[in-house]
Symmetry: C2
Subunit: 121 residues, 2 copies
DNA sequence: GGACTATATGAGCATATCGTTATATAGTTG
DNA sequence: CAACTATATAACGATATGCTCATATAGTCC
């Protein structure tokens, strides 16, 4: 029973401290370039140079964001010779991304319908 | 099959545009006070004044954040006489919060263990 | 209408964060 | 060691975002 429901258990309230920690994690994900980096890493380990072009930024910038992601514990770092390879350590981020994607999508559809309805008058 | 697993389907990559939208949603959630507000609203509809104290901020500030949450489509607004009641429109946010909470918690445990191990030497 | 309450908004300041450019660090190779 | 490559960092300016205080708006009640 309760098969496809997205909410598993009852939600338990967050203390003020916890709210801060949760917000901090969300903030890490609140940057397009970091989402892009995570997406790219979902295809497996990549070194910095391999990320620069698909992510569409500069090397220093990508490097900085990778550091942020690493400090947040979302990606791991492995040095091999001259290169540094990053990889996803916490695949749950994709669950988050998917959920947000769905939610945002639904909202856009809802808004579109509303706009359409208004336009019709 | 595949009952309790948090990741349901395969993750599909986000376009650059989608990454921006997803990041924007995450950014909305990247503020402690907004998390607190959502938490409070998880207990049901509240008007602005009822939120000020538990959230620990000022009325104008709470009002502003409520506006942001509303524009993001996360809360709904209902005016009744002199008061304005806000409520959760998209309960999936709590799924997100719980997931993040779990992930952050796991990370803290991991870090604590590591620190402990290092300290032991 | 006038007083009162609830909510929203605007101005101003403080701070955080992003992106860029230049440069430092570190590994490799001849 | 010198040249080269890959990554990281520092300094800077630009922008965004949050918070506070004062005030505007709007509803209620007498």
């Amino acid at each position: 029973m309760n098969a496809m429901k997205s909410s598993a258990g009852p939600h338990q309230p967050l203390s003020g401290l916890a709210a801060g920690l949760v917000a901090a994690r969300f903030r890490i994900l609140g940057e397009p370039i970091r989402i892009r980096i995570l997406e790219e890493l979902s295809g497996g380990e990549r070194n910095v140079s391999e990320l620069v072009e698909p992510v569409g930024s500069t090397q220093p910038n990508v490097s900085k964001h990778l550091r942020i992601l690493q400090e947040a514990g979302l990606v791991g770092r492995r040095q091999e010779g001259n290169s540094v390879f990053y990889s996803i350590t916490d695949p749950s981020v994709f669950t988050l991304c998917d959920a947000v994607c769905r939610s945002v999508g639904e909202r856009m559809v809802r808004d579109a319908k509303l706009a359409d309805e208004l336009r019709r008058r």
